[in-house]
Symmetry: C2
């Protein structure tokens, strides 16, 4: 978007904003592409992030293709917009190699789901939600959909039986049709319901609830709907009141909204790099903010790291090609390893929050991968954070 | 927009957001309806607004219909969302009678023009712009349009010969077709250019440049284009760098943007009530912020209050029905009186900044009038501010 106006073939549009090369600019200017709501930082003090100079750019990383290269090469090869590393609550490295600014809010994609999961955790803790109740108890409209009989916990762990294709390359997959419903892409089919909630009602079922893990974006959306309904509060305000305003963040966040006012619970949040680091640090510190206040219930965070007795089995038999043997998915977080407590928040096109409590390490990377999914870029990034955590601990 | 989701007939849409009853919610949630850019407040301190308790709600006001009623009645009768009164730089009254919050950014409509005029003033003062040069010197593309030969000063004072109907009730008036071009309303005519700048190029001329004052929104848009081009900086950043970040404001502002990235220079800015008061106070204090820093050149502000030798004549012979006998329009500000230095920034649906240097008084009112224009509501509001200023001085 250079020039006044930019040449027509270089303009970021609703049709091209998620594709390269347009996605790099677009992910940092989402509010200029689609309507968004403000997630206020509130009026409290900013919790400072101590500066630190250890950049560790030369640390070797074992890459997916067998090479061993320095961290700087991984960052360069993985379309990095922002990279942040914290150890023991202190900043170790903060980099913006391609012009992202410290005050740029970058699209978090499905990292948003982890925020919505935390909102649900707070509401469960306050007694507003029963995680084992059927969601139709809160949103009766869902009884006409495949969600009839599904519990909040089923959706939190992505173990409903909802038929929902997450094939980003198929324009007819539910994950892409949902984007037509909410205004993230031009409408091709006039029969697609308008707005996320009306779209959720037409989703069907192709399995039993409580079965295998299967990655479905709609699960975060239905959780968001339930949270709004029981609290009587829109998600942007829930995010602010329960999380964002309590983390000592520097900037307001953004979240995209559809024409019916529903926030994009499964992927529409945008934040600065450093503020996302503060969220990650809270997930390392048992749900406490830097000032010691309990933001997300400690038991909720601990339960996520622990999982249910059958979480790993539900993950092992997943139809989703996770490439995380022995891992699990719990409460809208990924746990990639069988034997180490590493928590990930993941979003397509390279958004990641890495939390390694044993190593006292939090990492954040915001990116503009050309493709929505790329196993090489993903596991090179994970290897980089593991190497950094091992070095720091 | 109550409910999750709101009933379809109660949803604010691109088609209804400027009409009652939807405009009340929409004017405080513009970023949730259309894409917007952030106008950062920067990182400087907030300049405090001293609290004060004199509300003056009982002060009598001579109304347009001959009645004399208290200020509180005027506020109640004129669809007030926010009302702020300052005297000698101190807050006298701050009211949000219909649920607007102190952190809500409210659409300023054409008050935006006064901001863009100030941006131009700074750029002129810095030697980047010659106000008496033809604007084609800066934006050569304009030579194919009616703007060929018009100077920046012609546009600043709305004295070009451009054919542009400001009839808000006529959907075919240029002011409404412009809204189709920039995405403020659903597109009816596929032949309308996409984006503000391409639309400006198709405007023709029906008079000589330098003639009578005629209120045309496009003048602010062409000024904005010139400012962006000479500075190489998008208007949201110009507004922030030159004005907003220097006024000690509390919140970021918003400004709507079109699909080509152009800001809505003639009416798309949104700010909080108090922050708009800080802008008004700067216009009272000869262009200085509360910390004494010169934000807008003093000579530019003084020139606006003074006018050109023929400003009042150009206003008197205007085809626009101003109902301000003896007044004038200068540098994107209104001056309603022949004999008193009162400066106004005005926007449709009841947005006003009132600056009365002799009385040391600044007033702000943000509203949701049902109609774009309403002389009774407008002149009742002006009479209220005049009564308050007379009482305070």
């Amino acid at each position: 978007m250079q020039g006044f106006p930019p040449p027509p073939d270089q303009r970021v549009t609703l049709a091209n904003w998620q594709t390269p090369p347009f996605n790099r600019w677009a992910f940092q200017h989402v509010r200029e592409v689609v309507p968004t709501a403000r997630v206020p930082r509130g009026h409290g003090p900013v919790f400072p992030l101590s500066e630190a100079s250890r950049r560790l750019d030369d640390l070797p990383v074992h890459r997916v293709d067998g090479r061993v290269t320095p961290v700087s090469d991984v960052l360069a090869d993985t379309y990095t917009d922002g990279f942040l590393l914290m150890h023991a609550g202190r900043l170790v490295s903060e980099q913006y190699p391609e012009g992202m600014r410290p005050d740029s809010t970058h699209l978090l994609m499905s990292v948003t789901k982890s925020f919505v999961g935390c909102v649900a955790g707070v509401l469960v803790d306050r007694g507003l939600l029963d995680q084992h109740a059927a969601m139709t108890a809160y949103v009766p409209e869902l009884s006409v959909s495949g969600y009839a009989g599904a519990t909040l916990r089923d959706s939190l762990d992505m173990r409903t039986g909802i038929a929902f294709s997450e094939d980003y390359l198929d324009p007819d997959a539910e994950v892409r049709v949902l984007e037509e419903a909410i205004g993230w892409r031009p409408r091709r089919n006039p029969d697609v319901p308008v707005g996320m909630y009306d779209y959720l009602l037409v989703l069907g079922r192709n399995g039993e609830h409580g079965g295998p893990f299967s990655y479905r974006s709609c699960e975060a959306d239905v959780i968001g709907w339930v949270c709004e309904r029981v609290s009587g509060t829109p998600m942007p305000d829930l995010l602010s009141d329960l999380l964002w305003s309590r983390l000592g963040v520097e900037y307001d966040a953004d979240i995209t909204v559809d024409t019916a006012g529903a926030a994009m619970h499964d992927g529409g949040m945008c934040s600065t790099l450093r503020d996302l680091g503060r969220f990650g640090q809270m997930l390392l510190d048992d749900g406490r903010a830097a000032d010691g206040a309990q933001v997300v219930p400690a038991w909720w965070v601990e339960d996520a790291y622990t999982g249910a007795p059958d979480s790993r089995n539900a993950f092992a038999v997943s139809p989703t090609d996770t490439r995380m043997p022995g891992g699990m998915y719990r409460s809208q977080f990924w746990f990639p390893y069988p034997d180490r407590a590493v928590l990930l928040c993941l979003g397509i096109h390279g958004q990641i929050v890495y939390v390694n409590p044993a190593a006292g390490t939090v990492g954040v990377k915001l990116s503009s991968w050309p493709s929505a999914q790329d196993a090489t870029l993903m596991f090179d990034t994970l290897a980089m954070f593991d190497a950094l955590a091992a070095h720091l601990s």
